[in-house]
Amino acid sequence: MSNGDAIIQMRNIGKVFYADEVETHALAGVHLDINQGEYVSISGPSGCGKSTLLSILGLLDSPSSGQYLLANNAVEALNRGQRSDIRNRQIGFIFQAFNLIGDMTVLENVELPLSYRKGVSSSERRERAVAALEKVDMAHRLGHYPAQLSGGQQQRVAVARALVGAPAVLLADEPTGNLDSKNGEQVMQLLDELHRQGSTICMVTHDSRYADYATRKIFMFDGRIVDEETMHRLRAEEDYRHFDEHKGLRIRSA
């Protein structure tokens, strides 16, 4: 099943959470390949498993079952330290809430991933951080603190931070969720530009307008990847069932 161009290969990934003797299947039988330079969006209703999938993609969590190859290396069973190292070198994160550190300047925030990498001198760290900030047009705000920036500017700094380590893949979790439409549009154009320059991007979004920026759209429902048509059908069925439950009727699914 190996695909020579695929930077990410997931085979039959499952994730089960246990809480108070309740077993929740967040992901089940997920197969996913993402090729080098691809721009993928993941959409789906709340609780469908998007964030769980992104956590596993970003090595923030381990799958309960299945195989995950990142740049042809099996990563599903790595320990915390190994996952930290790979996350630092191969994955860039962009979050909905920006997640910049308030006590650090823009430059220091962007330098942060490189500060965890051995063998990077402070001058190189600074050079690469400035270059990343230039890419997102934020090099003129090096000494500012996050609180002194607008939401859009903060997200651009977050993008620079994701880029600075030259990761194999950028993972974006609702990158426009905390932005107004104008700033949201600007961030999407920035990601589009990065994609055109060769970055591999995997983005979770609720918004179909932004999903359209991606070259491939993935839909999820109840912890599985489905095609767009299936997702709409399942959603419609669920809405109908929900409606009938409220009317006191019981519908048994076939």
Binding site: S51, T52, L54, S55, G58, L60, D61, R80, G81, S84, D85, R87, N88, R89, F93, F95, Q96, A97, N99, L100, I101, G102, D103, M104, E108, E111, L112, P113, S115, Y116, R117, V120, S121, S122, R125, R161, G165, D173, E174, G177, N178
Partner: protein
């Protein structure tokens, strides 16, 4: 290194951005560290510091340890000194000395100075040369040699204005014509606070070996030799002497130690160690407090750490970052601590200097030196680990995927929880130990200040006389006549109701002597009972209103020619002859000259408290009773006069001086003090100790109260939403208060319970400095607990009040 600088820069900025937190933690930890550094500095100055003599580590001090009792004696007999001087191969120089007071008279008023009688080798052993003239040499030691004196620098400056022509000047020293031969350099006051040195009179070797006067012996270890060799030689010498003089056999073993270890009394060393133990508790309280605050801060910074973890920070790196923050706080606190240590040290040393028997003057300086800096570095490392390890470790344990689940909002889970509660309980327990300790020492001070001396000391002025002139020493009757005449003249002087004479006043004693009943073996000195010997005039019991229990007290008929008699105190009588009458029994005692004599007991009197400065310090707690000898049947050079005054005692001080001067113009009266002054002196060291323990207790209490306050405030903040929900559902105020304070009350209860247990253990250690107070004194324990509960309650009120004022709307809007 670059990562360290990166993290350090961020940590510093982060702390600067939260000045209140930073200031609070730095001050709290600074107080704990400051007190610990103060104690280490004090121990360094008073116990560990080398005396200021060239190559002081090469100067050895010769002492003995009784192998039966284990007691150490820093003095040896003069004969032993001479034997050592003759036989030792491992010493380059050797000298002996004993300290006391020395009368100096010239054209000015006769004055009694602290001084030492020394042999010629003392100055060579110390390696100190005079700034003027010469030191005492071998010729000065010869029998019949002209008397000489070496002056201290301060005495030379103050009495002779630094006049260089003082060398060769005739003076009278201890009522003998003498010549000033030298002046020692500034600061030299060997062994402790001496102002004058005279040759030791070695013409006292006519007694038996056991009755020989005792001296301290010091020697400079010769090149290529060691103090261990000196000790071996000394031990061999003792064994030889024991074989040579079987009658004088003593169960002593040789102890040769560096001079520094013998310069400060063991009491100081022991008390300082107790204080160090106490102050370590304060530091632990401070560490627990800061650990609690760091945990609370870590909880608020959990998102930041999650971001770092997502960016690739390993757990170790996150742990290191947490520890670095604790390290930076501790370093800042150490700077504050050094300032606090210096202030406390200066105060402590000046307080010690004003005690009756202060440590040597060279030890009374508090320095921030390399030693203290080294201790500071170790303390910083330990404190960083103690206060920062657990918070850093806990905060490094981050579920990275939390960042995905929480998004931009949502509650940050508590990082404090059980850890914070445990830390507060620990603080409460340790603080209670310190409060109980402070209570016990305060009770000791109260006990001493209100001590029933067993004697009427109201409106009593006392003074000390040294009868050094040869005519007093050669004939005991001259001394007796002088003292009886003095007593009579004083009784008739204006403003004086009555006068008496004794060699030891109540509350001033430091001496002990053995007593042996008819069926005890006086050769077995180590096993004989000890008691306090007192020589008194026949009106002494009447003067101090000491009740006669049975028999009679001394009368004019008890003179030098009559039967040797004695009076014993009730305690001693009970100890020696339980269930029997003491009257008519005989007791053998050792006289001041070392000879033994047997006396008949003629009466039993009430108990009087004689122990003074050592009261409440170890051996001072052991009551041994007293035996009294009549002045007319005793010898002695040092005497105290006591006078009942009609008005305030000190108003007749000049009368006392004048009456003495009329009898002997060469005789100074020193230590002119009221009996109240003596009682004050007896309690002074405890007052000092109590002040320090109160300080420790207050610091620990403040730390604990602030820790409790911080925890409750944090609880209120964390439970704001919950409180809002309770409020919205109509919960009454008491429910809100109960929800907030129930945990803290549990911690106070658990902490107090553990603290009481620890207090009982610590009180055992403290019992060394207690007087007439049980280590389990219920009053001290109860008051400490009540006071503590009051403070904890006060610390809980503000957060509880804050919680009560939260409205549902505020709470539900709260993020």
């Amino acid at each position: 290194m670059q990562a360290l600088l990166f993290d350090l820069r961020h940590t510093l900025r982060s702390l600067l951005n939260q000045p209140f937190f930073t200031l609070t933690t730095v001050v709290m930890l600074g107080m704990g560290l400051g007190l610990v550094l103060f104690m280490f500095g004090a121990i360094q100055s008073l116990v560990l510091q080398s005396p200021p003599y060239p190559n002081a580590d090469q100067i050895a001090h010769f002492g003995l340890r009784n192998s039966v009792t284990g007691e150490r004696n820093i003095r040896v007999g003069v004969n032993t000194y001479l034997d050592i001087a003759e036989s030792q191969q491992s010493l380059a120089h050797i000298g002996a000395f004993y300290s006391g007071t020395i009368n100096l008279s010239d054209q000015q008023r006769p004055t009694r100075f602290e001084g030492s009688n020394v042999t010629h080798g003392v100055f060579e052993t110390l390696g100190i040369n005079p700034v003027l003239g010469r030191v005492i040499n071998e010729q000065d030691m010869q029998v019949g040699a002209p008397a000489v004196a070496v002056l201290g620098y301060d005495l030379w400056q103050q009495r002779y204005g630094g006049d260089a022509s003082v060398i060769g000047r005739p003076v009278r020293v201890n009522s003998r014509n003498a010549t000033i031969i030298g002046v020692m350099p500034e600061g030299f006051r060997f062994p402790e606070r001496e102002d004058i040195w005279i040759p030791m009179n070695l013409d006292v070797l006519d007694g038996t070996r056991n009755s020989a006067p005792t001296v301290e012996v010091i020697g400079r270890i010769a090149a290529g030799k060691s103090s261990a060799q000196a000790e071996t030689e000394f031990q061999a010498l003792l064994e030889r002497v024991n074989q040579q003089y079987p009658q004088a056999r003593r169960a002593d073993t040789a102890v040769v130690k560096p001079l520094a270890e013998n310069m400060v009394s063991e009491i100081y060393a022991r008390v300082l160690n107790i204080m160090l133990a106490a102050v370590s508790l304060v530091l632990l309280v401070a560490c627990a407090n800061v650990a609690g605050l760091l945990s609370a801060r870590a909880a608020t910074k959990q998102r930041e750490r999650t971001i770092r973890s997502v960016m690739g920070a390993t757990r170790w790196r996150l742990f290191w970052e947490g520890l670095l923050e604790a390290g930076v706080i501790t370093c800042l606190a150490a700077a504050v601590g050094l300032v606090i240590a210096k202030l406390c040290g200066n105060w402590f040393m000046s307080a010690l200097a004003s005690t009756e028997h202060p440590p040597p003057s060279w030890a009374l300086h508090f320095h921030i030196d390399a030693y203290l800096i080294g201790i500071t570095i170790v303390a910083v490392a330990l404190t960083t680990l103690l206060s920062g390890f657990v918070p850093a470790w806990r905060s490094s344990k981050i579920p990275e995927n939390q960042i995905m689940r929480e998004g931009g909002h949502g509650a940050i889970s508590s990082g404090l929880g059980r850890l914070g509660k445990c830390l507060i309980a620990i603080e409460i327990a340790l603080s209670l130990v310190l409060l109980v300790s402070a209570g016990l020492v305060i009770r000791t001070v109260i006990q001493i200040e209100n001590i029933d001396t067993g004697a009427d000391v109201h409106r009593t002025l006392t003074g000390r006389l040294a009868l050094m002139d040869q005519h007093y020493r050669s004939d005991a009757r001259v001394t007796t006549q002088f003292l009886e005449r003095l007593q009579e003249d004083l009784s008739n002087a204006p403003g004086i109701a009555m006068a008496t004479v004794t060699d030891t006043l109540p509350m001033t004693n430091v001496r002990r002597g053995w007593v042996a009943t008819a069926n005890m073996d006086i050769e077995d000195e180590d096993h004989l009972p000890m008691s306090v010997p007192i020589v008194v005039a026949d009106n002494y019991f009447n003067f101090f209103r000491i009740p006669l229990v049975s028999g009679r007290v001394f009368s004019q008929h008890d003179d030098a020619e009559s039967e040797l008699v004695m009076v014993v105190s009730q305690d001693l009588a009970q100890r020696l002859w339980p269930q029997e009458s003491a009257e008519g029994k005989t007791l053998t005692i050792k006289t001041g000259s070392g000879a033994t004599e047997t006396r008949t007991v003629i009466g039993v009197v009430g108990e009087v408290e004689y122990d003074g400065q050592d009261l409440g310090f170890g051996s001072g707690n052991v009551r041994v009773g007293a035996y009294y000898l009549p002045l007319t049947q005793s010898k002695g050079q040092f005497w105290s006069v006591a006078i009942h005054t009609l008005n305030e005692p000190h108003t007749v001080a000049s009368v006392l001086r004048d009456v003495v001067a009329r009898q002997d113009s060469d005789m100074p009266v020193y230590w002119i003090r009221s009996m109240d002054d003596w009682i004050e002196i007896a309690s002074f060291r405890h007052q000092l100790l109590a002040t320090i323990f109160i300080g420790f207790g207050i610091v620990a209490l403040c730390l604990t109260a602030s820790g409790l306050y911080a925890l409750l405030s944090y609880t209120v903040t964390r439970k704001t939403r919950e409180i809002g929900v309770h409020r919205a559902m109509g919960a009454p105020t008491w429910v809100i208060v109960r929800n907030i304070t129930k945990d803290s009350l549990l911690q106070v209860a658990v902490g107090s319970f553990v603290g009481l247990g620890l207090s009982m253990l610590f009180a055992q250690l403290l019992s060394y400095v207690l007087f007439d107070v049980s280590p389990f004194d219920p009053v001290s324990f109860l008051l400490a607990v009540l006071f503590f509960a009051l403070v904890c309650l006060t610390a809980s009120i503000v957060p509880a009040f804050k919680a009560v004022r939260i409205t549902p709307m505020q709470a539900l809007r709260y993020e």
